[in-house]
């Protein structure tokens, strides 16, 4: 990337960052909650993208890490009063071990492609069913964290007004973007992309593909665990049926797919577009007094169909070309 392009990208990014930082001053709580959801999906999509977009390993069960991350931190808080900041690290650790176990099983025994994807679904599904039967998690009745919504920001207990959650998610999403950008330019990024493009050729160039695929899964599961912890302390109620459900996994991956798999801004753009448009449609219909159940899913389907047909690489690449910036 030459200097002029680099500068243009930096300016655009700065404008976007300024707008996002300023948002809570101009937006009401509803808008802030929509923006928080966008950032949540952007962050989680970014985490999924490390595995699929960078290293080419399709996970259709990322709800597993959101759910386990949420339940570990939420459960430790609920049962032992362990604060979110301590629980966060334990949740990350548990999810990394889980990711490593699944990765090891798959890569050690040469399970790849759709079979790998099936394996990820299987793990999410049987964890969902298992959690329904574990008393510690509250079972199907759910786990409810004590809500003590304050007007004061209490970062230590991760309690505060909507703007605090918004800013937390903004920091996470920005951090994930920076981390992914740095990883792409590192040895890991080159090796992952080589594995994604052609595993046999990558191996012939001296890449221990098992080790680097494992790293991708572990990084991705660790990042996703953080979304889970956020989820637990933001929504304060956890149901296996919801959090591990395959529809959540699909929701996570729609953003990056629509935005552009393997790109840095695709997951962000995809999450924004999907959330704004689907909430917009729901609002619009509500304004006319219509409430159509399932309209969101129909909308997702139509958008996905359109993107697959007309922009198979996602909507970010053509926009990036038009703006004259990379990735």
């Amino acid at each position: 990337m030459n200097f002029a392009l680099h500068r243009r990208a930096t300016v655009l990014l700065a404008v976007l960052a300024a707008a996002l930082v300023a948002l809570p001053w101009v937006a009401d709580n509803y808008l802030i909650s929509v923006a928080t959801l966008i950032l949540f999906l952007a962050y989680t999509g970014q985490a999924w993208n490390v595995m699929m977009g960078f290293a080419g390993q399709l996970s259709l069960g990322h709800s597993l890490y959101v759910g386990v991350g949420a339940y570990v931190a939420g459960g430790l808080f609920f049962h032992f009063g362990l604060g979110p900041w301590a629980g966060l690290w334990i949740a990350i650790l548990v999810c990394m071990l889980l990711g490593a176990a699944i990765g090891f099983l798959a890569f050690r025994f040469g399970i790849s492609g759709v079979y790998f994807a099936l394996l990820t679904i299987a793990f999410a599904e049987f964890t969902r069913i298992g959690f329904d039967h574990i008393p510690w998690t509250g079972g199907p009745g759910g786990l409810f964290l004590k809500v003590a919504q304050r007007d004061q920001v209490d970062l230590l207990h991760f309690r505060g007004p909507p703007a605090m959650y918004y800013y937390s998610m903004l920091v996470l999403a920005a951090g994930a973007l920076a981390l992914c950008a740095a990883m792409l330019r590192s040895r890991a990024g080159y090796y992952w992309q080589a594995i994604r493009e052609d595993e046999e050729a990558a191996q012939a160039l001296g890449i221990n593909t098992f080790r680097w695929k494992m790293l991708a899964v572990i990084v991705s599961s660790a990042m996703t665990a953080v979304s889970g912890v956020f989820f637990a302390f933001y929504y304060n109620n956890l149901f296996p049926e919801q959090i591990f459900h395959i529809s959540r996994s699909i929701e996570i991956i729609l953003g990056p797919i629509i935005g552009g798999v393997g790109t840095l801004f695709g997951p962000i753009l995809g999450a924004a577009l999907l959330t704004v448009l689907s909430d917009g449609i729901t609002e619009l219909l509500a304004a006319f007094g219509w409430e159509i159940p399932g309209i969101k899913q129909v909308f997702y389907g139509v958008v996905l169909l359109g993107v697959v047909m007309f922009l198979p690489n996602g909507i970010w690449p053509p926009i990036a070309r038009r703006l004259g910036i990379g990735r």
């Binding site: 330019r185 590192s186 040895r187 080159y190 090796y191 992309q193 080589a194 994604r196 493009e197 052609d198 046999e200 050729a201 990558a202 191996q203 012939a204 160039l205 001296g206 890449i207 221990n208 593909t209 393997g262």
Partner: protein
Amino acid sequence: MSLLTAQGLQKSFRGLRAVHEASFELPEGTINALIGPNGAGKTTIFNMIAGVYPPDAGKIHFAGRRIEGLRPDQVCAAGIGRTFQIVKPFAGLSVLDNVVVGALQRSPTVAHARAHARHVVERLGLGAKRDLLASSLTLPDRKRLEVARALATRPRLLLLDEVMAGLRPTECDQLIDVFRDMNRQDGLSILLIEHVMRAVMALAQTIVVLHHGEVIARGAPAEVVRNPTVLECYLGEETEV
């Protein structure tokens, strides 16, 4: 001193004997060709050396070390680079980034690898195309990229699997010059599988001829092309080279 020694290599695929008792050695700093009709077992021998699959029996020594049964990445780390007969570019990456992946094998940092990759890309005549996506290259350029990527791993021995196939004679000659240069300047040893006899005769110091998985002749090009068995099995009576 011999860089690579193969002793009694055997490989069968479900009862089909692909390679039988193949033995040969490649002296350090030489260019050698492996020729023979289709199905003679050339690519099978390549794959056994490169670690794609282990031989059923036999030994492969490289630089004083047993390498049979190692994984492809370990073979590469030991100092053997390879190209694929059906080229395998990283289609979604730029030409330069393709080569950087190879260069990282022996570079401490990405910056170091990029500098080395630029040099290799220039040398293979892809300098003007280094920022293009590999998927946009023509077949001759893809073949060059395949060679550049393998070379970037700084191998002591380069395995070339039919890199000349599909190239026009002038393109072929350019690549011949590149290989000759690398052999003379850097002391790179090369083992090539090739049907293009023009390239074989121009490059190889020794030729190993395979037929039905067995080595039927070995020696200097001039001897091999006059060997009656080779003429009968592969080159044909009328061949003029």
